[in-house]
Amino acid sequence: MKPHMSLSIMFFLAFGYAFLYIPIAILMFYSFNISKLVTVWGGFSFKWYGELLQDQGIIDAAWSSLKIAFLTACGALILGTVAGFVMVRFRRFRGKTLFSSMITAPLVMPEVITGLSLLLLFVSMDQMLGWPEGRGTLTIWIAHVTFASSFVAIIVSSRLRDMDISIEEAAMDLGAPPLKVFFVITLPIISPALVSGWLLAFTLSLDDLVIASFVSGPGSTTLPMKVFSSVRLGISPKINAIATIIVIVVSIGVVFSTWIMLQMEKKRKLEIESMMPSNA
C-alpha cells in the first residue's frame, strides 16, 4: 500500500466494502432483535437463538448438512487428488488435454443443469439397477462429491505442477515403489493443498442449495433447503439467527484455509530463495 492514499480512493474502497458487507451486517444485527417483525428494532435479545435450539427441524437439517459436508470433503479429497495426480503426472496420451479440461467442467456448468442431470441419473439407475434406492443423504453426497472433486483436482494439480518431479524420481531411485513414493513423498509435500482442498469442498457442500434440492429425498433436508423453504412461508428472525451462525462458520473456514495457503506460500518462497545458487 502506498503511504498517501488519496481521499477518493479511500472513498471507493469504503464504498466497495460497504456494498459487500453491510447487508450481511444488517442480517446479523437483526438476529439479535427481540421483535417478531424482522425490520423493526425492538431491543437486544438472544431470544431467536434460543428458539432455534428448540426447533428440531432446523437442528436436524443442520446436522445432516454438516454430516454431508464432512463426507463430501473426504470423498472429494480422495477423488480430486487422484484426478489431479493423473492430470499432471500421467504420461501424455491422445486426448489427455480433453480429459483434463473435462475434469473442470463442473466448475462452469450451471448448478441447475448439474442437479437436474444427476436427478435423472439417479431416477433411471433406481429403476434399472434398484440402486440408489430412492433419494436422500446418499444421493446428495454423491452429487456433492461429483462437483466438489473438480475444485480439489484443480488445487492439487496446480501444486503438483509446481513440485520438482525429480524429488519423486529420487525416492524411486532410492528404492521406493511408485505407490510408496506417492504416500511417503508426494502426499506430505502437497499436504497444504490437501487441507485447503478439503476445506473448500466442505464449504461448497455446506453452501449448496440448488443441487441438493434436486437430488434430496423426503427424509433428507439440508440446512440451506430448510432456510429457503421457511423464507417462502414468511420471514422469521430465526432465519437471521441461523444465517448468522452459517456466516460465522463459513468465515472461519475461509480464513483458516487462506491462512494455510499463505503459510504454504511463505514456506515455498523460502525454499525457492534458499535454492538459489547465489546463496550457496
Binding site: D173, A176, S274, P277
Partner: protein, 369 residues
C-alpha cells in the same frame, strides 16, 4: 571405434541403444563400455541425448531398442527402485519435509535395514561428506554445496554398483564449482564406485572424468581420456567443441612414410604432419592446430613448412596468457596463445605488428570432417 565388448573390465555395457520420443530421435545407435571403478563423463551440449542416456541407466526411460547390461545383468525389465544404481539429480532433489538424517536414511529404510544399522550407516555417510553436524537440519537450511554433499551421502549410503551424476555442479555458483569438482572426485574415488556423469561443461568433464564420451545429436562422436580427446580429436566437431582450435582445410599433397604434407589455400606454406594417415594424394582433409601450440615471433622461421606471415589484429590479454589473433595474407585469422613470461610489455606484440606464426610437425592433427 573398436568395440570393447570383450573387454574383461567392462562393467556397464550399452549395446546399440536407440531412444525416440514421438518420432524425435534422442539417442541413436549408442555403444559404450564403462569399466569398473572409473569415472566416466557424457559430454555434450543441451539436447544431445546425454541426459536421456543417463535416465535409461537409472531406469526412468526405457530404450526403444538395444540392451543395457550392468555387472552382466540385463536391465530391460528392472524398474528404477530395484536397480542397484543411484542417481544424483541436478536439483539434488532432497526431500524438503525430512531432515538431513532422514533423507540419508530413506534409501536404507526401503531395503528394510534394521534401525541400529541404519543409524550407524547414516552417521558414516554423513561424516564421509563432512556433514555430521548437520543431521538435524532440514534441506532448506543448507547452502548449495552442503545440499550436494547430503545428496551424495544419501546415494553412497546405499553402496550402489553404479553412481549416476546429472549435471552435478549446475546448481552451484562458479567459485564453489571448482572446489566441489575435486572434492566429489576425491570422495567417489575413495569409495571406489563406478560413476557415470553428465555435463555440458568441458572443463568439468576434464577435471572429474577419467574417460569422456563426446555426444552430439544423439550419437557418440568420440570416447577417450581427456588428453586423447583434446590432443587427438577424431573430427571437426570434437576439435571445435573442446577448447579452441584453428582449422585449415586442404588436400593431401604428398605422402611419405610417417609423415604427410597437406596443401591448403588458406596458408601459403605447406602443412607437414609427422604422424602417418590413411588417405590418397588429393583427398580433402582438415588440419587442426591448438592455439597454444603455435609460436608467434618476429624472426623468419627456417623451415619450409608449418609457418605463415601475418599481421596481429587482436590481442586478448588474460594476465598469464595472451591470445593473438593473427590475420594471414590469405585472409584467414589464426589464434595463437602465448605465455606471458616477461613482465615487460615492450617485447610483446601490439596491434598491426607483422609477425610469423609457426608450429612443429607434431602439433597438427588431421580430422575426418
Amino acid at each position: 571405434m573398436p568395440t570393447l565388448s570383450e573387454d574383461p573390465q567392462s562393467f556397464v555395457e550399452i549395446k546399440q541403444i536407440n531412444k525416440t520420443f514421438d518420432r524425435i530421435v534422442a539417442v541413436k545407435d549408442v555403444n559404450l563400455n564403462i569399466r569398473k571403478g572409473e569415472i566416466f563423463a557424457l559430454l555434450g551440449s543441451s539436447g544431445c541425448g546425454k541426459s536421456t542416456l543417463l535416465r535409461m541407466l537409472a531406469g526412468f526411460e526405457t530404450p526403444s531398442s538395444g540392451q543395457i547390461l550392468i555387472d552382466g545383468e540385463d536391465m530391460a525389465n528392472i524398474p528404477p527402485y530395484l536397480r542397484h544404481v543411484n542417481m544424483m539429480f541436478q536439483s539434488y532433489a532432497l526431500f524438503p519435509h525430512m531432515t538431513v538424517e532422514k533423507n540419508v536414511a530413506f534409501g536404507l529404510k526401503q531395503e528394510g535395514t534394521p534401525k541400529n544399522i541404519i543409524k550407524k550407516k547414516v552417521a558414516e555417510a554423513l561424516s564421509l561428506v563432512e556433514m555430521q553436524n548437520y543431521g538435524k537440519r532440514s534441506p532448506h537450511q543448507l547452502s548449495g554445496g552442503q545440499r550436494q554433499r547430503v545428496a551424495l551421502a544419501r546415494i553412497l549410503v546405499k553402496s550402489p554398483k553404479l553412481l549416476l551424476l546429472d549435471e552435478p555442479m549446475a546448481a552451484l555458483d562458479k567459485k564453489l564449482r571448482v572446489q566441489m569438482q575435486l572434492e566429489l572426485v576425491d570422495i567417489i574415488e575413495r569409495v571406489g564406485v563406478t560413476c557415470v556423469m553428465v555435463t555440458h561443461d568441458q572443463e568439468e568433464a576434464m577435471t572429474m572424468a577419467w574417460r569422456i564420451a563426446v555426444m552430439n545429436e544423439g550419437s557418440i562422436i568420440q570416447v577417450g581420456t581427456p588428453a586423447e580427446i583434446y590432443e587427438f580429436p577424431h573430427n571437426r566437431f570434437c576439435a571445435e567443441f573442446i577448447g579452441s582450435v584453428n582449422i585449415f582445410s586442404g588436400k593431401i599433397a604428398e605422402e611419405k612414410p610417417d609423415q604427410v604434407v597437406i596443401a591448403s589455400h588458406e596458408i601459403e606454406n605447406k602443412l607437414l604432419i609427422s604422424h602417418g594417415l590413411i588417405g590418397n594424394v588429393g583427398t580433402e582433409v582438415a588440419v587442426a592446430i591448438r592455439p597454444e601450440k603455435i609460436v608467434v615471433s618476429r624472426e623468419l622461421p627456417q623451415e619450409d613448412c608449418n609457418w605463415a606471415k601475418g599481421v596481429v589484429k587482436d590481442i586478448v590479454y588474460l594476465g598469464g596468457l595472451s591470445t593473438y589473433h593473427v590475420t594471414l595474407t590469405s585472409g584467414k585469422t589464426v589464434m595463437a596463445t602465448q605465455v606471458n613470461i616477461n613482465r615487460s610489455t615492450q617485447e610483446r606484440f601490439t596491434w598491426d605488428d607483422e609477425a610469423y606464426i609457426s608450429w612443429s610437425p607434431q602439433s597438427g592433427v588431421v580430422l575426418s570432417s
